[in-house]
């Protein structure tokens, strides 16, 4: 991830945006492999609550992360099917469950601000700054931190 110090005036970053629990998030486009509809999700007994399950995406086994659980948000109850953003980490495939996919935004790096101090701590842990957009805030998701999932002790 680019840090504040090495930003160059005028550098733009592209984000794939997504809504999770009404909040707009942005994922660096370089980290996004694909966006897909999670189908035939298999739950994994004894796994962390933040793992929604695993599924077969074109012959690869993808571990699906429930982003609502990861962010400490309540379960989605609007009945709409979630979407998933595919990301890779160290050769493994993950799918991040989101409510809805948004557009791709090009944003100037220098307009990114640090996490507001009053940001929900669970969200702040996964956020790599925010962008102020027209009328709303886009939280930049730090994919590496999102995937730092600690196993539930009771399940281990």
């Amino acid at each position: 991830m680019t840090t504040k110090t090495d930003t160059i005036e005028g550098t733009v970053a592209e984000y794939v945006t997504a809504f999770i629990g009404g909040q707009l998030f942005g994922l660096p486009i370089s980290r996004v492999q694909d966006v897909f509809m999670p189908e035939r999700l298999t739950r994994v007994p004894l796994s962390s609550a933040e793992i929604a399950g695993v599924l077969n995406l074109r012959g690869r086994i993808v571990t699906v992360v429930d982003m609502r659980a990861r962010l400490g948000l309540p379960k989605n109850d609007d009945g709409k099917l979630p979407m998933a953003v595919g990301v890779d980490l160290r050769g493994e495939s993950y799918g991040l469950l989101i409510d809805q996919i948004g557009e791709v935004l090009k944003l100037r790096e220098d307009s990114r601000e640090e996490n507001p101090v009053n940001l929900d701590p669970r969200m702040a842990k996964l956020a790599g700054g925010v962008h102020r957009l027209d009328g709303q805030l886009m939280v930049v998701l730090d994919v590496d931190r999102v995937l730092e999932i600690v196993p539930d002790l009771k399940a281990a």
């Binding site: 035939r40 298999t42 994994v44 007994p45 004894l46 962390s48 077969n56 086994i61 196993p151 399940a155």
Partner: protein, 657 residues
């Protein structure tokens, strides 16, 4: 059974015999018809299938006579690739296919000159490999050099310093192909870099060796852990799971009132199967996915599973079929779950978890039956401490104080009708499985005269002995800590079990009462040159239990309560023929102990046998690396004696000579 010789090859998959097929194809006595050609294969066993496939069709289609031989070779390789494992489809088959597509162009233009020298398949504990070799012209080093320079991969000066083998490695560089033109058999766009990437991805390696004018060989190695295993697909709480067939002994449909029925000893569910008692665990409870749907406590499908010396039953809601599955490693985020060894994609595209019987065995050993865990709220009180727990059979015999014996030592529990008990020559006997089994009474126990008599059966090598007890109370999991040494013969000492002072009996004391020669018959004649064993175990219980067994088998025994004292003994100048050590010990564990011995120049050839309650393939592998000669389960006395015999046999010959 429990004993596993760590040098023996694991039989995950049956060996393949390809020679016949190979001959057929190479000699072209049979030409497969394009109509046969589907990507069809089964597994290692039935892997005659047809993976010749499409490729045969494609190539045969427009190949000239000169190319016919290549087609055969090609087909054989695809065939072999198909048998390597299911994933071969995606990776290895494609790889070898791709390889062959580019390979002939790299090496020869007249395909006629390719002769298959050999194609071999082999595997060891960790890897399986396919090796293709020919006696063609070999790689064209000059052309590879030219191409490498042209692609800017290397400077001419650097090239001068490189060996041929290093130069040949350039064919794995992205976009590297010396094929001048794309034809039906080569240079179709995907290069050797893709081949290597594919193999890297599954943790394998590809190696190419080539000598100009003599031939080339390609070796592809693939980790065995990704191999195909045959698995039983079962259902629990609506989800499917795979249980590797390798550990499945049999399937039992338990029904109330049938021969196989689920019983309870206290609140531990057990299955009485051919007079053996098996602990049972409900898969859905174990996995905490119990959906509350009433599971009939007395009926169910039971997968009888064996791990090392432990046999237990896994209760599932349904059993579907067996399927050849490709084991895929669990995600790093899920690898901490002991219950699963991996996951797999089923034929219908769904992902399911592969049950790790070792994990289940561990759960059985650690927390007792999960059903009890859930049923008994009090159980929460005895938290899982991570300490090593032992299954103990608690019974009453002679006194009101309970007695206990490690369950692992007991072969069966029996209730025998008293009218079957005969008195012969002053000894109680019972006809048991067409043999006369002596009954041994502990002090103060009287044989019942009416009703039935509970006995503990200890069997070894075809002979059985029945220990008469008053009442069988329970099976418990406890950290066995003998606090007071026993003064009475036949009692090892006392331990607190379930809050009660309990006497732990010394089975070794009672066995010779049934057969005086129990320990000394067969191979164990106390030899003239009795050999000495160093026994290292931090548990006084095991030292006390094993030392008499070893002595009875004719060995001189020295015991050490930890690895440090063991090393001191070894370095004291006293000569030992073999070291027997526990694995789970504080400070220095058995693995470290073995590594230390291996590293000591005076002791490096000392045979070391591991003694552990954890007998899992991973532990055995770890043991092999640490330098153990053998790995034996703690309660597996015959296995231990056999291992000792084997490890001390060589010096005996040396002495005799």
């Amino acid at each position: 059974m429990a004993r596993r010789n760590i040098h023996s090859k694991k039989k995950f998959i049956d060996p393949l015999k390809l020679d016949g097929l190979f001959d057929v194809l190479v000699n072209e006595s049979i030409r497969p018809k394009p109509a046969d050609v589907l990507y069809h294969y089964t597994d290692w066993n039935g892997a005659r299938g047809i993976l010749l496939g499409q490729h045969f069709w494609e190539t045969a289609h427009d190949c000239t006579n000169d190319e016919a031989e290549l087609v055969s070779a090609h087909s054989v390789i695809l065939e072999v690739a198909g048998t390597l494992r299911k994933e071969a489809h995606g990776v290895v088959a494609a790889t070898l296919d791709l390889f062959l597509r580019s390979y002939p162009r790299l090496q020869v233009n007249k395909l006629k000159t390719i002769y298959l020298a050999c194609f071999t398949l082999a595997k060891d504990d960790r890897e399986q490999w396919g090796k293709y070799a020919d006696n063609g012209r070999g790689l064209n080093t000059e052309r590879i050099k030219a191409k490498a320079i042209q692609n800017g991969l290397v400077s001419e000066a650097d090239l001068e310093k490189m060996t041929e083998a290093q130069i040949h490695k350039f064919i794995f560089a992205p976009g590297f192909s010396t094929a001048a033109a794309v034809t039906s058999v080569s240079g179709r766009g995907v290069g050797m870099d893709v081949v290597r990437t594919n193999i890297d991805q599954i943790g394998g390696t590809i190696d190419i060796k080539s000598v100009a004018g003599e031939g080339s060989s390609v070796t592809i190695k693939i980790p065995l852990t990704l191999a195909i295993v045959s698995a039983l697909i079962v259902e629990a709480a609506g989800d499917r799971f795979a249980i590797p067939q390798l550990s499945v002994v049999e399937l039992v449909r338990a029904r109330a009132n049938s021969e196989h029925r689920i019983e309870r000893i206290k609140d531990t569910a057990v299955l009485r199967l051919r007079n053996k008692l098996l602990p049972l665990m409900h898969l859905k409870k174990l996995l905490k996915i119990d959906d509350g749907s009433s599971s009939d406590p007395e009926n169910g499908f039971i997968v009888v599973t064996q791990v090392g010396s432990q046999t237990f039953g896994i209760v599932v809601d349904g059993v579907f079929h067996t399927e050849e599955i490709v084991v895929k490693p669990m995600s790093t985020k899920l690898r901490h779950i002991d219950m699963f060894s991996g996951n797999t994609i089923l034929g219908d595209g769904a992902v399911i978890m592969i049950i790790d019987p070792n994990g289940i065995a561990k759960a059985l050993g650690a927390s007792g039956s999960a059903s009890r865990d859930l049923a008994d709220d009090n159980a929460a009180g005895h938290a899982i401490t991570g300490e090593q727990l032992t299954s103990l059979l608690v019974f009453r015999a002679g006194s009101s104080q309970p007695k206990a014996v490690p369950l692992g030592l007991v072969t069966r529990l029996e209730e025998i009708a008293t009218d079957k008990i005969e008195l012969s020559n002053g000894r109680y006997m019972v006809q048991y499985r067409e043999q006369l089994m002596p009954l041994v009474q502990m002090d103060g126990v009287t044989v019942q005269t009416t009703g039935s008599q509970p006995i503990l059966v200890f069997a070894d090598d075809g002979r059985s002995m029945g220990l008469v007890v008053d009442e069988i109370i329970d099976i418990v999991e406890e950290r066995l800590h003998i606090e007071v040494a026993g003064s009475q013969s036949g009692i090892l000492g006392s331990a607190v079990i379930k809050g009660l002072a309990t006497e732990v009996i010394d089975v070794g004391h009672f066995l010779p009462m049934a057969f005086a020669d129990w320990f000394s018959r067969k191979e164990m004649r106390p030899s003239m040159s009795s050999q000495s064993v160093l026994l290292v175990d931090d548990s006084a219980f095991f030292r006390n239990m094993l030392a008499p067994v070893l002595k009875a088998a004719g060995y001189k025994v020295r015991v050490a309560p930890n690895a440090q004292e063991g090393l001191t003994a070894l370095r004291s100048g006293q000569v030992f023929d073999v070291v027997l050590t526990d694995i789970e010990m504080p400070d220095m564990n058995g693995f470290e102990f073995a590594e230390t011995i291996r590293a000591d120049q005076h002791l490096s050839s000392m045979p070391i046998i591991a003694l552990s309650s954890m007998v899992s393939p991973a532990a055995i592998e770890r043991g092999r690396q640490a330098g153990f000669h053998d790995y034996v389960a703690k309660f597996d006395r015959p296995g231990l004696i056999a291992a000792l015999k084997e490890q001390t046999a060589a010096p005996e010959i040396r002495r005799a000579a």
